[in-house]
């Protein structure tokens, strides 16, 4: 007889119990709770330890470990391994066992042919319609085992089929990896219970026999679970018989799939997603009750009062599981040094050689700094790491790939000397301790910025080549359910119509909009009113699902490498991109576990800058001596193109008045980092006049400083409207250059050390909290400590509040100073290029699209406003990429033509010159569709009178020996030439760019009352005006309290408008969907910044233009 669980403390039994078979949401659609939530709940109910056995991975193990530490829970590592005939949970008993587990999972994962990492949830509205037709009908249980038993077919779960996500583990490969692992027979998805469900006792014994043979007689447990369902007693009885027959111990588990009862709803939604069905049709696929949550030792003791040894065995088994992630055994690769050298001595040698190149004469200050850094690096054992990164930088140099270190590495003179970073930390007075300090236990962070695209991929592939596919991996990026994806999945499960789900996505796809519209209001607008019977469920589910892992992606550039096999440190699997292998942990997990990561980040601007510098070299427009005289040292080895390129960043003059003038005028379209609308609105107030101003400009327009209310005090102090004050006079040295306002992470650390007596390790904890975006809790804990420290020192409560607010806001997003300097270097360089090498600058930007904030069309218009001629695509003149003519004009490359294959473009270039259009056709043999596109774009104009002439002529099928071809061409053309509007339309549809007049110029005559963007400067403050143009940017930053910023481009420039939240909500569809708008409202002038405060919005219908360039929306 079973006994009910007591709600009160009826039974004083306090039998200890350890849950050894839990699954988290990292089982991707097979679990419903975050590991942190499981750890928290386990602590609440008195579980001393918890084993997480996610499906085919240890994805959540680091998170459980961290959360377990916080809650006093011992985190046990395990995984459910998918075999052909079911899933078997295994637990890592020893370090060797863990290594085997990782290697085994990796082998199965990498054996798969494909690319995706884990099962992905169906995407798009169409998926909602798909599943209806595929919804399983008449399937009476969610349990694959039960289904197969009923049908009498061989058991094979969908998860066991070879997929791109991985192939099942083979039974015959198990013995090789079984050492140190302990196996449970598993739950209903396990092979043993599947056999029992088919009444196949012999088969169950055979399965157990296989497990015993692989893992050993002492390392197999017969798992029993009790979920208060009819029929399970029979199964338990059979399992007990099996255990007795095989002389194996029983092990009790509740097989939790969620932390508490409440999360059962999430599991049901995930079940629907997994089976491509909805809740109304899912039937018995759904859970029968909500019992699969974490249960306390007392609850489990009562549940298994008839099998007490099963509960006791959990404690005994837990005692055998000695492995923890603390003993991961990760080692960074050693660097092979020449004979007679150690890594320390070799690093010293290379650093000093590099320093002499960088600094020329080594001053005592430089020498002292280098000695200090080298000594610390040696003591901490990081020499090999520096040498390996240096080697990677050397590879880039040898390959002609521009590279620049960023992050806190920019604080290191050693990194600067080795050529890893481009900014002299001694000259910039940067704090080395921000990068590396005695108290630091984790690896320092060196990030390398590389040109995005092929060049970065070459570096990544080189890392794979050097360390092997199982010695290096990209770190994972856990994609979580956000607003739209969460609601899409919920909507499908709740059987909302595809139209409704689509409407929600299109209305709220560009942001979660928590500022002005609650979720139920969003649902109402999407067509689900509050009185809808499922609205409450949708809202509740949304809150539960938001933030849960959806699938595993790869980090944009974080690579980890290992001394030995990385697949014994963590499981690896295929990434979505061919040729990439990804780890199961993200960068925060890796950092927590001391696994070193090198970020190989792709920057579009790096690619553009390298191309621009190359163009300058080719055209002989490099930096002249006179230009660089006032600036930094020229390149040391000018003979080498790349070296000239690499030293360009350091060599450009940093006091160029014209560059700063352009910044002050906010004419920064295309300039790295300071081109956004928010940056452009700040530049005229900031009025940068030196390089450090650019550093501040880069750092200040971030959510951290903005939310911390640091922007306005800083600008007021800079403008002299507010006195410069400090929280404390002792902070003056650290805060003086930012006028007493903390703008950088380093300054906050300094404040904590001075005002709250934070030790080095406490400051390190704060730094980690600031960098660790994931954990709000972590930040709150540090803030409590900070506040207590300041109170102890008697700091005034108002100041404590200010400092705490600053620290908290930085957790949102703030820059370290060194990072800002690295970015500012590129920002300044790109601005300088825009002013002094505009053709090269714009041509390179166009060649590296998509990148940056604006579309090619806006860049072209900006180039024209700056006096650069941009010429259209031409098969006679254009190369594949954009080029610069002798007259400094840009010739658009064939690469801008939509749908034109590079192979065809190169064929055109190779076949030049062409005697006639017929000659072009005969010798290029391009598909008719391509010829039509080229003709429509005007790319054949040199071979025909005009576009329509070309369009008419290319339709004739040419034969090589056609004697009358010329006569055909000479016949009168029956088509009229395109007018300006048609040309613009053809340009936008064929290339997304027009070199002709802006569409607004064509409409201007019709719009007499619309102000031009350039004329707004003459409008008096407060005058009500109407502006109109093509919407190039829509933004609703999280820091703007629901305000929306819209930028309208016309033939004279860009006009900005601000929409209040209420107006935006009223005109949401209009604002988000219309390509051309008219906005009416008063002009506001403030310190050189002009915008229109929108009062009225209407669409500007441009009937002739169905194609328009893309806009940059809500990023």
């Amino acid at each position: 007889m079973l006994v009910a669980e007591g709600r009160g403390a009826l039974d004083p039994i306090m039998t200890r119990f350890v849950e050894l078979h839990a699954r988290s949401a990292f089982s991707f659609l097979r679990g419903a709770s975050q590991p942190e939530r499981l750890a928290e709940r386990a602590a609440q109910i008195g579980l001393p330890a918890l084993a997480l056995c996610d499906r085919d991975g240890v994805y959540a193990a680091p998170r459980l470990r961290t959360a377990g530490k916080e809650h006093g829970i011992c985190a046990i590592v395990g995984a459910e391994l998918t075999f052909e005939d079911g899933a078997v949970p295994v637990l890592a008993a020893t370090h060797r066992g863990y290594r085997n587990l990782c290697a085994l999972i990796t082998r199965a994962k990498l054996r798969a042919p494909g690319s995706t990492c884990v099962p992905r949830v169906g995407r798009g509205v169409l998926a909602a319609t798909d599943f209806r037709s595929r919804a399983p009908r008449g399937v009476h249980s969610g349990e694959d085992a039960a289904t197969s038993a009923r049908d009498g077919r061989p058991p094979r779960s969908s998860a066991a089929r070879p997929t791109k996500a991985g192939t099942p583990v083979q039974w015959n490969e198990l013995p090789e990896f079984a050492d140190g692992l302990i196996a449970l027979t598993g739950d209903k998805d396990g092979p043993v219970r599947r056999c029992l469900a088919r009444e196949d006792f012999a088969g169950a014994r055979a399965c157990v026999g296989r497990l015993r043979a692989a893992f050993g007689d002492d390392n197999v447990y017969v798992e029993v679970q009790r979920h208060l369902r009819r029929g399970e007693e029979l199964e338990i009885e059979r399992l007990v018989q099996l255990a007795r027959a095989e002389r194996l111990p029983l092990l009790a588990s509740n097989g939790p799939l969620h932390a508490t009862r409440e999360e059962r709803a999430v599991l049901d939604v995930f079940t629907c997603a997994r089976h491509h069905t909805h809740l109304d049709a899912a039937g018995r696929l759904l859970s029968a009750n909500d019992e699969r949550h974490l249960k306390s030792p007392a609850q489990m003791a009562r549940l298994f009062a008839d099998l007490p040894e099963a509960v006791e065995n959990t404690v005994r088994l837990a005692g055998r599981l000695t492995f923890s992630l603390e003993e991961l055994g990760y080692q960074f690769p050693r660097y092979e040094v020449p004979a007679g050298e150690s890594m320390d001595t070799f690093l010293r040698k290379m650093t000093m050689a590099g320093a002499r190149d960088r600094y020329g004469h080594l001053t005592p200050r430089v020498l002292a700094q280098l000695e200090h850094e080298l000594a610390l690096i040696g003591r901490l054992g990081f020499s090999g790491y520096f040498l390996i990164v240096w080697d990677l930088v050397n590879f880039c140099t040898a390959q002609g790939i521009l590279v620049q270190g960023r992050g806190s590495a920019a604080n290191s003179a050693v990194c600067y000397s080795l050529g890893i970073t481009a900014c002299d930390p001694i000259a910039c007075d940067l704090l080395f301790e921000r990068f590396l300090s005695e108290g630091r236990t984790t690896w320092p962070d060196i990030d390398l910025d590389l040109p995005s695209g092929d060049r970065r991929e070459r570096v990544i592939q080189e890392v794979y080549r050097r360390y092997g596919p199982r010695g290096a991996a990209m770190t994972a990026n856990v994609i979580t359910f956000r607003g739209r994806s969460a609601m899409r999945e919920i909507g499908k499960a709740l059987n909302f119509s595809p139209d409704t789900i689509g409407r929600f996505s299109s209305l709220f796809g560009s942001g979660d909009y928590p500022h002005t519209l609650e979720l139920d209001a969003q649902l109402r607008e999407a067509g689900i009113p509050p009185e809808h019977p499922r609205t409450a469920a949708a809202v509740a589910l949304y809150q539960k699902i938001y933030g849960l892992p959806r699938h595993l992606g790869q980090h944009s550039g974080g690579m980890i490498v290992c001394q030995g096999m990385l697949d014994t440190v963590m499981p690896l699997e295929h990434a979505a991109m061919p040729g990439r292998v990804v780890a199961q942990w993200d960068k925060d997990d890796c950092a927590d576990l001391g696994i070193i990561k090198v970020d190989l980040l792709g920057l579009g601007m790096m690619a553009a800058m390298q191309d621009a510098i190359d163009l300058c070299q080719q055209r002989g427009t490099g930096i002249s001596a006179c230009e660089s005289a006032a600036g930094f040292q020229p390149a040391v080895h000018n003979s080498h193109r790349l070296e000239a390129c690499a030293t360009f960043l350091a060599a450009i003059p940093k006091d160029d008045a014209a560059t700063y003038d352009m910044m002050c005028a906010a004419e920064t379209i295309g300039v790295f980092q300071i081109e956004s609308r928010a940056q452009m609105a700040t530049l005229p107030r900031m009025k940068p006049r030196c390089f450090y101003d650019v550093v501040i400009e880069v750092a200040i327009i971030r959510p951290g400083p903005i939310q911390g209310d640091m922007l306005h005090p800083f600008l007021a102090r800079r403008a002299g409207r507010e006195p410069v004050t400090y929280f404390d006079e002792r902070l003056k040295p650290g805060l003086a250059r930012t006028l007493g306002v903390p703008l950088f992470q380093e300054q906050l650390l300094k404040i904590a050390m001075v005002m709250a007596d934070f030790s080095g390790s406490e400051a390190e904890e704060l730094r980690r909290a600031l960098s660790f975006h994931r954990s709000q809790e972590r930040m709150e804990k540090v803030c409590v400590k900070l506040r207590a420290g300041m109170e102890r020192k008697g700091v005034a409560s108002a100041v404590i509040d200010q400092i705490t607010k600053a620290v908290q806001s930085f957790a949102v997003y703030g820059f370290p100073e060194s990072h800002a300097i690295s970015f500012a270097l590129i920002a300044y360089a790109s601005a300088w290029m825009k002013v002094h090498r505009a053709p090269e600058f714009f041509a390179s930007l166009l060649n590296n699209q998509p990148m940056g904030f604006y579309s090619s069309a806006t860049l072209v218009k900006d180039a024209k406003r700056r006096g650069v001629q941009v010429r259209p695509v031409s098969v006679i003149e254009s190369d594949w990429r954009c080029t610069i003519g002798a007259d400094d004009s840009i010739r658009l490359g064939l690469c801008v033509v939509r749908g034109l294959k590079q192979e065809h473009g190169e064929r055109i270039v190779a076949a030049r010159p062409f005697a006639s259009l017929a000659d072009f056709q005969l010798r290029t043999q391009l598909p008719k569709a391509t010829q039509r596109t080229l003709a429509k774009l005007g790319a054949l104009n040199g071979l025909a009178a005009h576009r329509r002439d070309a369009q008419w002529k290319i339709e004739v099928t040419r034969e090589p020996d056609d004697l009358f071809a010329q006569a055909e061409d000479d016949a009168a053309l029956p088509l009229r030439a395109m007018d300006a509007v048609e040309r613009a339309q053809a340009d936008y549809s064929g290339a997304g760019i027009t070199t002709g007049p802006h569409p607004m110029a064509l409409l201007r005559a019709r719009l007499p009352d619309i102000w031009r963007a350039a004329d707004l400067a003459r409008a008096r403050n407060g005058l009500r005006v109407r502006i109109g143009g093509h919407v190039i940017c829509r933004q609703r930053p999280g820091t703007a309290k629901g305000f929306v910023f819209v930028s309208l481009e016309d033939e004279t420039g860009v006009a900005n408008a601000i929409l209040e939240p209420a107006l935006f909500e009223k005109t949401r569809l209009l604002v988000t969907e219309e390509p051309f708008l008219i906005i009416e409202g008063p002009v506001q002038h403030s310190e050189g910044v002009i915008h229109v405060k929108a009062r009225r919005i209407e669409p500007l219908f441009v009937r002739e233009l169905s194609a328009t360039p893309a806009s940059h929306d809500f990023h």
């Binding site: 007889m1 006994v3 007591g6 709803a265 039937g283 909500d290 499922r534 039509r932 016949a971």
Partner: protein, 386 residues
């Protein structure tokens, strides 16, 4: 000129009169008059309600090419050429056009020029097997209705035979005096064109039918299928006379109501005792039967009480110890459970239940359930089945 103008007027008058005549027959019409069929069709599309085209070029000049349904690719090229109307297309030399865009462009050009006379194609409407009749007065009894229905079936049956079809489904609609209607659809167990079989189905239904309003009209729609000739597999058997079985069911329906006749089917849910009554399927495939097979029950057969007996249950340490109900009462010797079930949490009518199996001192085995705060005796187990 005068001749042309008078001809136009004559055609217009004729068209106007035709439209009026058709209107009298409740048919809305637009009439185009032109030199050939294609042009006349275009004219009819633009007519309000009559359009006489005498100058094809003028008429066609403003017609968008898209209106004449050209192939999409051809339309795209012409659009790129700036040719949006037939008038513009007509100005392009035909031979040059065909050279470039093929014969489809030539056909389109021909239409742009006003087209050529061609033979008309006969389009047969899809044959419908529908009969309807309006009575002069409301009818009081079934006899006149049955008489009319038999006549209708005779008509339809003849047409079915002519089309080599049989009836698979009949829909009977009775128009009632207050503009309401009664509608009933009948699936024919073994599709047939036999008047007697079809009539018996209708007759059986009307025999048990009581309406609150008198019928004023009747309409009968037959869904036809091809007659199926299928050889049964070795162990497959059909009803000896499916239509007779269907008729028997129809009589039962007439007696007890449609919601009480059918095949019980367990619903696909964890909720206990959820079932529905479905129409018997006469044409299920083996595949469908397999998919719909219910999960086998575990343990002793349960004899359910419908409705269940409310009960008072006294718990000791959360386990039922005493039960008091109309069916059973007294001390519980032993209890097994709880078995918990819950579902439909996404609806307002979400449910949950906790079940116990109890043994009474006399050896009787019962199932108790707790729903909310209420207890019920759900049924007893057939101990004899042990």
């Amino acid at each position: 000129m005068r001749t042309r103008a008078s001809a136009r007027r004559a055609w217009s008058r004729w068209g106007g009169a035709s439209v009026e005549r058709l209107a009298a027959l409740h048919l809305r019409a637009r009439i185009g008059v032109a030199a050939n069929a294609d042009l006349a069709l275009l004219a009819a599309r633009r007519a309000e309600p009559v359009l006489v085209v005498q100058n094809a070029a003028t008429f066609l000049a403003d017609i968008a090419i898209a209106e004449v349904d050209p192939p999409p690719q051809l339309l795209a090229v012409l659009c790129d050429w700036g040719i949006g109307h037939l008038g513009q297309l007509a100005q392009v030399p035909r031979a040059a056009l065909i050279d470039r865009l093929g014969p489809a462009a030539g056909e389109l050009w021909q239409r742009a020029m006003g087209g050529q006379p061609r033979l008309l194609r006969l389009v047969r409407p899809v044959e419908e097997f529908v009969e309807s009749f309006e009575f002069e007065h409301e009818i009081e009894t079934a006899e006149p209705l049955l008489f009319v229905l038999r006549r209708m079936l005779e008509q339809i049956s003849l047409r079915l035979a002519g089309a080599w079809r049989v009836a698979a489904r009949m829909t009977l609609t009775l128009l009632l005096e207050m503009h309401d209607c009664h509608e009933r659809a009948f699936t024919i167990p073994a599709p047939t064109a036999d008047i007697e079989v079809l009539f018996r189905i209708l007759h059986t239904h009307l025999d048990g039918l009581t309406l609150e309003q008198r019928p004023t009209g009747v309409r009968l729609v037959i869904e036809p299928v091809r007659a199926e000739h299928r050889q049964l597999r070795l162990f497959e058997s059909l009803l000896r006379d499916a239509n007779r079985f269907g008729e028997t069911l129809a009589r039962l329906v007439a007696l007890v109501g449609p919601e009480r006749v059918g095949v019980p089917e367990l619903e696909d849910t964890h909720r206990p005792d959820r079932h529905r009554v479905v129409e018997p399927r006469f044409h299920t495939t083996a595949r469908e039967e397999k998919c719909d097979a219910p999960e086998l029950a575990i343990g002793l057969p349960l004899r359910r009480y419908r409705p269940a007996f409310p009960a008072q249950v006294h718990l000791v340490r959360h386990v039922p110890a005493f039960v008091f109900s109309e069916k059973i009462h007294g001390e519980i010797r032993e209890a097994a459970g709880p078995y918990r079930l819950s579902g439909q949490w996404w609806e307002r009518e979400q449910w949950s239940a906790e079940e116990w199996d109890i043994e009474m001192p006399d050896g009787g085995l019962f199932r108790l359930s707790k729903q909310g705060d209420s207890w019920f005796v759900e049924g007893d187990y057939d101990v004899a089945a042990v």
